[in-house]
Amino acid sequence: MNYGETFFWVITPYVTLVVLIGGLLWRYRYDKFGWTTRSSQLYESRLLRIASPLFHYGLVFVIAGHVIGLFIPASWTEAIGLSDHAYHLLARVFGGLAGLAVLAGLALLIYRRRHYGPVFRATTVNDKVMYVALALAVVAGLAATLSGAEYRDSVSPWFRSVFVFRPDAEAMAEATVFFKLHVIAGMVMVGLFPFTRLVHALSAPVGYLFRPYIVYRSRLRQNQSL
């Protein structure tokens, strides 16, 4: 294992995590006002109505797939009678479909941003950088999934090892180049996350399902709570 591998699989993940957590704390404390989807639907709705749900719903499945793939060891799925072959077939089919939906949605969204004058005008440098990182991560991830390469002996153990502070860079070094590129692009994206509009993902309004419809707030308490 060389210094490059150590840098990418030992140092970078912790830098990313520090930037992510620190960035989110700063953003929440000092820029609640900027914590928004910053929707461009007001300018253009027709394309968005297809592209945005395609991208976002695809992403929900992609994230679910990541949780299963990264956190559940191969021995567990085997224990419930799912053979390695069957697991990978499922992962490739569903992961591939979800990934394609995300890619198609993203492509449409980027086309929409570039093509519609008002939407493009509202696109900041911040957005452009974010789109590049996002697109790289999605393309590399989709390529890695469709390549069918094994990752539960390489990427997943490394991912879990990072969180117990014993980073297993050697496991990651075993992964294919698509996975390595995907992981690097992913870390860049996670590092950018707190400073872009992506933060709106953390505001998924689940609480709406459980609160009464009408919200009352006292003028005094509202001053104190902020």
């Binding site: 953003r27 404390r29 000092y30 820029d31 609640k32 006002f33 900027g34 914590w35 928004t36 989807t37 910053r38 929707s39 461009s40 639907q41 007001l42 300018y43 253009e44 709705s45 968005l48 109505r49 945005s52 749900p53 991208f55 976002h56 719903y57 004058g117 008002p118 005008r121 509202a122 900041t124 911040n126 400073f195 509009r197 709106h200 505001s203 309004p205 609480g207 709406y208 399902l209 609160r211 419809y213 009408i214 919200v215 009352y216 707030r217 006292s218 003028r219 005094l220 509202q222 902020l226």
Partner: protein, 536 residues
């Protein structure tokens, strides 16, 4: 059961006096929406009726699905769908109006006036879109059909009234309808907000958007049937009429009221039974909603009010409330679109002038009570139109209100001419008519705007006990010299005068900058931790 009394600041506009000058709209815009991102937003706008309104055709709820409806089982639900449906559709709101439904804001390329090469023609300043920056043809705006300048046949209300409306020039009637946020008792925008950023203030019922909690899901824009919530496309947050709460809190009327040249706006407190809001909003028959909402209001002299714990000056203000008189005592003010079931709190005195004008135009005495009464009945079109606006299509309350206005008109003419006044049948006593005349015609500033200021005396508030600036490092903790010396001034007094000064002073508040809009130059206030020794 005794009612749970809450207070609501409400407005009544006397449409007979509106001359459609747009002063309210312009001063409101200068105060609240003269910023990038809300160029297209008019918290206050004045519509000519019949007309499409702003945004175009916003009253067509079959299309926009704003407000509430009662389902087959009699339950109240959001017309655009409940919580689950809202969340499933969160990635692209299918019912959101586009900027074209409002209008594409523009400016003019004034530079062309001085830069144009010498030629035979006088140079002009061509319009440029504020959305795309491109040259554009101006095709629509917030008051495009001013004075029936557009095509009123697109008016959703007119379509409801039916085919008898020919819109011939001789039969045309029109009036102006200034619109602001209704600050509803049962606000569907608040109910639609997934983030819980929209809220109704307990003290005064003003509906506000918490800019720090709004995440830009845009469901409130859809939820409001009056389309009075606007999406700031620069900040990505919802904005709306604030009822000028910083002014109201120090006893000043809203900017639209203050600057109204016709003095047609009235501000005051209404007390209502908060426990019955849901029950009233769920009444099956649309036409009963107006009466039902009246039944929600609590008389300030009701013993339940004294027991409610409301501050004394709020109860006193409710007793003197001009809005209460117009709504409850004279019953000439009506709610705008009660059929949306949001229980709106900006009410309107319907205009008698289309009727008077029609009478006078046909050679009759437009001030005579019998003539007016007959005309109110005969001129079906204006009455039906007003009924679609104010009483879900029931002409009876509209006719009654117009009859009272007509009665006042003829009675007071007799008084002014020294004749023996005859009291027409309208349900009003001579004393009522005199008081109503005074309120509608002569009332001074402090009679039109009865606004309690004692927010700090709200039960449960302990602002006076100790000093809220006494936190560590706050100005109250400074040493015995300089600003912190001397006896501490009670905070409520200080902030009251401080606020009043700020509201009446020249200084304008600075815009907030968020990360997404920061151009990297300078250091926007609040975006970074304050340096040591710098006030946060």
């Amino acid at each position: 059961m005794s009612p749970r009394v809450m207070a609501q600041l409400a407005m009544v506009m006397n449409l007979d006096k509106c001359i459609g000058c747009h002063t309210c709209s312009v001063t409101c815009k200068q105060t609240w929406t003269n910023r990038a991102g809300v160029e297209y937003a008019w918290f206050n706008n004045v519509e000519t009726r019949p007309g499409q309104g702003y945004p175009r055709g916003h009253e067509d709820q079959d299309r926009w699905r704003g407000g509430w409806e009662v389902d087959a089982k009699g339950r109240l639900r959001l017309r655009a769908g409940g919580r689950v449906r809202k969340l499933l559709g969160i990635f692209a709101n299918p019912l959101m109006p586009s900027i074209q439904d409002y209008y594409e804001p523009w400016t003019y390329d004034y530079e062309n006036l001085t830069r144009a090469p010498l030629g035979d023609d006088v140079p002009v300043a061509p319009p440029r879109s504020l959305i795309s920056g491109e040259p554009m043809a101006i095709r629509w705006s917030a008051n495009w059909d001013d004075n029936l300048g557009g095509d009123p046949s697109e008016d959703p209300i007119l379509r409801k009234v039916g085919d008898q409306v020919k819109l011939e020039f001789e039969q045309a009637f029109m009036f102006y309808l200034p619109r602001i946020c209704e600050h509803c008792l049962n606000p569907s925008c608040v109910a639609s907000c997934p983030s819980g950023a929209l809220y109704k203030r307990e003290e005064d019922g003003i509906v506000l958007v918490d800019q720090d909690r709004c995440r830009g899901w845009r469901m409130c824009v859809t939820g409001c049937p009056y389309k009075k919530i606007y999406f700031n496309h620069r900040t990505g947050k919802a904005e709306k009429c604030t009822f000028c709460y910083p002014r109201i809190e120090v006893g000043l009327p809203t900017v639209c009221s203050e600057t109204c040249v016709g003095r047609l706006r009235y501000l005051g407190v209404m007390l209502y039974d908060a426990d019955r809001v849901g029950e009233v909003a769920s009444i099956a028959d649309d036409k009963e909603l107006y009466e039902a909402q009246l039944s929600l209001f609590v008389d300030p002299d009701d013993p339940a009010v004294a027991a409610s714990g409301l501050p004394d000056d709020w109860i006193e203000a409710a007793r003197r409330s001009p809005v209460h008189d117009l709504i409850m005592r004279y019953r000439i003010a009506l709610p705008l679109h009660p059929e949306y079931r949001t229980l709106p709190m900006v009410w309107y005195v319907p205009p008698l002038s289309p009727v008077v004008d029609a009478l006078a135009g046909s050679g009759y005495d437009g001030e005579d009570a019998d003539n007016l009464f007959a005309a109110v009945e005969a001129l079906r079109i204006p009455v039906e139109y007003l009924a679609e606006l104010f009483t879900a299509g029931d002409p009876v309350p509209v006719t009654a209100a117009l009859r009272r206005l007509a009665a006042m008109r003829s009675y007071m003419r007799a008084v002014n001419l020294g004749e023996e006044p005859e009291l027409p049948h309208s349900g009003l006593s001579a004393e009522d008519i005199h008081d109503m005349y005074r309120l509608l015609a002569l009332a001074r500033y402090d009679e039109r705007y009865v606004i309690p200021t004692a927010y700090s005396n709200t039960p449960g508030a302990v602002e006076e006990i100790g000093c809220s600036l006494d936190y560590d490092g706050g100005p109250g903790m400074a040493g015995p010299f300089g600003e912190g010396s001397g006896r501490p001034v009670p905070v409520s007094i200080e902030s009251f005068h401080g606020l009043k000064q700020r509201q009446t002073g020249e200084e304008t508040t600075r815009d907030r900058v968020n990360l997404l809009n920061w151009d990297g130059r300078g250091k926007p206030a609040g975006l970074f931790p304050p340096k040591k020794g710098e006030a946060s």
